[in-house]
Symmetry: D2
Subunit: 335 residues, 4 copies
């Protein structure tokens, strides 16, 4: 009964099927028919012109997107606990050539690592136009956030307004974008707000090795295309990645998978009561648990990561069995 991470879960059968259907004939390098479908499919999904590139990992998606929004001498404002800052081994420093992540505090308490216009201003106002200081060129938010909280459309609009006022780009790290949309019950367009680029995550949501970088400004995709090749991320048999992405869109598989994961997380969250560190909105559950309590759960066969000394993180995936979630919920309630 594993709740370690959604990013190691099995591949969805419909993704497998689509990959195998792509196996037929020779296809040109980065110009196969499947890859060429992506722009139209995402444009339909978001109701506006999109230019879309597949790439193998979320780290590459985030960094390639950000590199189109921020020059090497610039900065990207993100939350102090953003994945790009704490979990990508310096990849933004590599892809953005030493550009600076400018770390903002988010809303306090149960804010869940979400940025606010105030938190952003606190970082960028004091150093404005000071040549001794890195100047901001973009903002990156995570939807859903690192603590499983979803930005409401109005929150994104407010951040977007600040970005526009200051001439900053806006990027959404959507490693769990499906989970956010599933929770919000809004359109994908509403969940991404006025961003120029979205890392639309699929690997955590039933895919194998394909994420989509969705550019809402096609000119940025033209830059990213060269940078993708330059980063060794242009796969010669890219049709197998395109097939994965298309399978996820087909019949809203991405949304169904996310709903399933969210439901399992909600089940667990309900059992946690005051132990909960953040409201459960997506598919992650952060729970205060002593070391003894964690040991007890593990003795019952549950796998999960510690979260600091006094808490644990449980992540549900598209294929988490309802019974397993229920069993975990009961075990926590019984502590």
């Amino acid at each position: 009964m594993q709740f370690l991470s959604d990013n190691a879960a099995a591949v969805h059968p419909r993704v497998w099927a689509a990959m195998q259907a792509a196996d037929a004939p020779d296809a040109p390098y980065d110009g196969d028919a499947l890859s060429r479908e992506l722009d139209a499919r995402f444009s339909a999904l978001f109701g506006r012109d999109c230019a879309v590139l597949w790439v193998a990992t979320g780290t590459a998606a985030n960094c390639l997107a950000l590199a189109t929004l921020c020059p090497p001498h610039g900065g990207v404002v993100c939350h102090r606990e953003a994945h790009i800052e704490v979990d990508e081994a310096g990849a933004p420093g590599f892809y953005l050539h030493g550009a600076k992540l400018m770390l903002a505090e988010g809303a306090k308490g149960s804010g869940g690592a979400k940025l606010t216009p105030e938190a952003i201003r606190a970082v960028i106002d004091p150093i404005r136009d000071d040549v001794h200081q890195v100047q901001p060129h973009a903002i990156s938010v995570t939807q859903a956030s690192e603590y499983g909280r979803a930005y409401r459309p109005a929150e994104l609009a407010a951040i977007g307004a600040l970005a526009a006022e200051r001439g900053l780009g806006l990027h959404v790290d959507g490693a769990r974008f499906g989970n956010a949309v599933a929770f919000l019950g809004c359109t994908p367009a509403e969940a991404v707000g006025p961003a120029q680029a979205l890392s639309f995550g699929m690997v955590k949501n039933g895919g194998m090795s394909a994420e989509a970088i969705v550019f809402f400004d096609p000119a940025l995709a033209d830059v990213a295309r060269y940078r993708r090749k330059r980063a060794g991320h242009l796969q010669s048999k890219g049709r197998y990645l395109a097939a994965q992405v298309l399978a996820m869109l087909e019949g809203d598989l991405w949304l169904d998978n996310a709903r399933a994961a969210n439901a399992a997380a909600a089940e667990i969250g309900t059992a946690c009561g005051a132990r909960l560190m953040h409201p459960v909105e997506a598919n992650e559950v952060f729970v205060r648990l002593t070391s003894d309590e964690r040991e007890a759960l593990r003795a019952h066969g549950f796998g999960f990561y510690d979260w600091g000394a006094d808490a644990a993180r449980f992540v549900a995936a598209w294929n988490t069995r309802e019974d397993d979630a229920l069993a975990l919920a009961r075990a926590i309630a019984a502590l």
Copy 2:
């Protein structure tokens, strides 16, 4: 009847089977059981301690390997027509942070873009210890070369001796390493010579999305491990890549596939006579053909790339049908 490139060919059934067998349970990020098998399997193959990382593309393999051998202020000597110089969109400049590719002329005529100690010395001797000049730190050779020629073990030994004398690292770009070994009929160890790192290509040889970087100095792998993550090439479901690599090694599938491709190329080459630009050793055939002749071949249904104004390149793959190769051979002979 496609002879465009081996890098877009279909995936071998045994690779598919291995990927699906990896689909079972959750597995830890970059620490799955399959990935852990790689070091032992390659150590057995090469008869010495190897540390091995999978990565999705040959460009990433080459660049991650080279980045362990050359600092940002250094240079890598390679042939003027090396893939890293002419076909990777500046990826070495990205991964090596602006290090310089120091371009050497190879042996003349039918040399096939192979380096020699003399050609290397002609580049590095005149600027030795001059602070206004980038100094060499590594040499990169391509086995088989960009024109389908294989380095003989003695040639690699001579280059390796020069590298050792000057304190330079040695890297082998083995995008078609299998084709070289199949042609040479030697051991893999002999075909790689005294290199510190080998990009062992599999995507062109029946794989889908996994190449192996083989480090003969395990300390380099420890550096590359961090750089792989930093480049967004550490896939969370890496077990599917490890499975591909292991399937290629199993029962020497890599060698069987390469032999098949080489045989098809040889068939074509035999028909070309004086049109041949380079002896056919691996799976590529470079043929002098006028524009009219190329048009005629295309009219017969053959797909291939032009090679400049007066020639064409035909590439055979693991799955090239004997009939297709024969048909092409006859069509060329009949021109």
Copy 3:
């Protein structure tokens, strides 16, 4: 009566004289007789083998030194308020190719932005050997610190011991190294501790445009020599920079100048009583002053920078007149 910064003060007459004495004949690029004297002069000063490069700015000195100690994928531990983090416009990100500054909290209260082994461990222990995290490769301390505090030799030894235990390099940003030595009354060697590289500041201390990077490991200087050229910091008329550095060493001008600045700062500090934010050890005085009080001082003709909303920073230079310092001291006391 300016107390804005020592880094814009006039050039000392003996520095001018030395520059003019260097004007005579043509001299080879980076190989002039004056530049060749540096190694011996600094080796004598520190009582051990030194290899020394001049460079025009402290930012370049810090970054070139750090680049010899930390690869692009690594990290440098420094204090959260270190100059390299807060005041160099991202230069370390540029010179170290995206390496990460790993920010440590220093000793609390009057600690003055000084690092401790505990503060360093709090940053590097939790992420040790985690491939998703940037790993530390070096530590950088500022002597005297950003708040004018000097590291005692025992403090440096303790940090150096941790560095050695973990295989980390140690760099000292000595933009105000002279002020630290003047305060400590120890030898330069004691004030630099077991560092591999020191940015020995001279511009803030009476020089015009030359700092010295002192490498206690000559092999590092050989790397830095190429990187200096690559950064456009190898000046063709470098003899004028070497002349400045030699003039500063001659007769311990660097120490005399620092003593004069420290004395002026001490004079001011004595008048500040409980307003002092940090003990005055070097030539900077941080003073709690309301906005009205600062306005009053400015009305009296004193120039200085605000330090946040409720404080001010006064910096004394080698040429601060005793009368000016006394006048400022009296004006503060009279508030």
Copy 4:
């Protein structure tokens, strides 16, 4: 009697005087009154709006200028023997983050390393819009060229037209811009053509440590300002650099110095007859001389660099004595 290089010559007395006049009071960092004069002075010189930054070396000037015209994934077309390619130790790779120098052949024979539209097209046309190839973003020409040849205004206009047609930036490396203008007898504006940025060299022409980057598009200067700081080239006592630059402009000292150097070179060139490798237009003379002949000249006390195995380069400076030039001319004629 030194003809090694103009870049190590003594500093002109009027430059010294201006530096000392700048020594008076404290001045703000990068905002001093002298630095603020630069834009107006160069705007008057070029008859259009200029934004100007001082920097210590020509390498830094070239690289900071190019970094405003070419992103990390792009390329800069330059001559195969351009200074940025052969003499800056990889600095463009550093400042442009791995962007590629795309090497063009120049006009043949006595072309003197000058680019032509045809030579540029031969490099950029074959790889146009190919994602596997670095795409050009800028062109860099050297005025006067590495062989002392000056681009005529019409030649620059033709290159500029090509640049405009392809959306490429145009940079002029004017390390010896004064020598070119002095030879051409045109206005500075005519000698720079439709460039966006000029590295206006002064160190080789009587300065000590200040070159001017002249941006004809002020928006580029705003980018370069941050990059200059980031590269450690923002000197705190920048008024001493601004003073040098202003002294060079004052009374056209830059033009007088260049004329003097050109005249000395012309004197030498006249004596060389058929030995001349390139017409002498600026202050460099390339002469075919056997090894014995060079030895004979050195035995007469002449200092100069070999130029390959069968030639030598003589460079005249602003302070080359007429007698010395005459003596060299006679010595060559007498060989």
